[in-house]
Symmetry: C2
Subunit: 195 residues, 2 copies
Amino acid sequence: MSETHRIPPRSGVAFRLNAGQELTVIDSMGGQVADLLAVARDDVRELLSSGRTLDYAERIYLTTGDRLYSNRSNVMLEIIEDDVGRHDFLLTPCSEATFRLCYDNEPPHQGCHGNLAGALAEYGVTDDAIPVAFNCFMNVPVDGETGKFKVLPPLSKAGDRIRFRATMDLVIGLTACSAPASNGGSFKPIDYRID
Amino acid sequence: MSETHRIPPRSGVAFRLNAGQELTVIDSMGGQVADLLAVARDDVRELLSSGRTLDYAERIYLTTGDRLYSNRSNVMLEIIEDDVGRHDFLLTPCSEATFRLCYDNEPPHQGCHGNLAGALAEYGVTDDAIPVAFNCFMNVPVDGETGKFKVLPPLSKAGDRIRFRATMDLVIGLTACSAPASNGGSFKPIDYRID
């Protein structure tokens, strides 16, 4: 069995995931969001696209069987297991600006955007290129009538997981989310495994 | 009174819009979508971000009074008038791949993605950098329970418009949308005016 890695609270990592490998993202303590970004390893200008993915899925909530597409309409990842069934693919990772604009009483934090930018820099991904991430376990119910949404605590319980299979050679950026509203106000680690 | 420009069916243009200027997008014949993209003129790596904008608006349907943000969390445009109240900011402009994947019986077309890429190339915007556009008049109701959405004909009637004020010096990409489902199956021009 492969090693389980731990991402400390409010931080992020980047690593290689080869075509055919599986990535399991585990919310070991429950109620914690993990922002996931995928970049094509042979050309980092090709990266995860919420707009293409949602268009092809015809749904804003994705789960087992759904495919995550790149901006070039290639499949990057398939979701092959999902204990939770509620993730967000509408919102950009929080940044220092998000904290300034949305959290009056919180000290600014570089957020998942800053953590992803830092971790992905060595692979040649620039800060500006970071798009909407696939926000594992993030619970953003939308009111279809008004279009209003809320950011509620995740539905994930301790040990819940989501598993992806890579369909091309990728670099993955993955965080333990830093935004108070997304995690019910407390920051926990995120675990992951590559098989 | 300023000149009204016409974008022929299934095509796109790019033009400069200075801070303080107003852009009116007019659906002169009714039931036609126009994809709008904004890029900061002094650094084209700064461009429209659906993920930031929706996060700050806390709504997926935007209208008068809402602000469209860049990937750097700067306000690019404000919506100052809106006859329709239903636009899409979830889906990426259609591309040739979209036609291959979604329209079995349609000859492939470069779509709004290709039209935007072509029009914006002279300003240094690359094909891969084109994000989710603000799709004026595009009618994508979401079922909040299931997350499923439909692409329905626009609610816009002949002459309906949406007006934006630029809050920085911009390059705008604007199309008359090419996708059958988005326009009730017929392709019409889009008009615009700069004041």
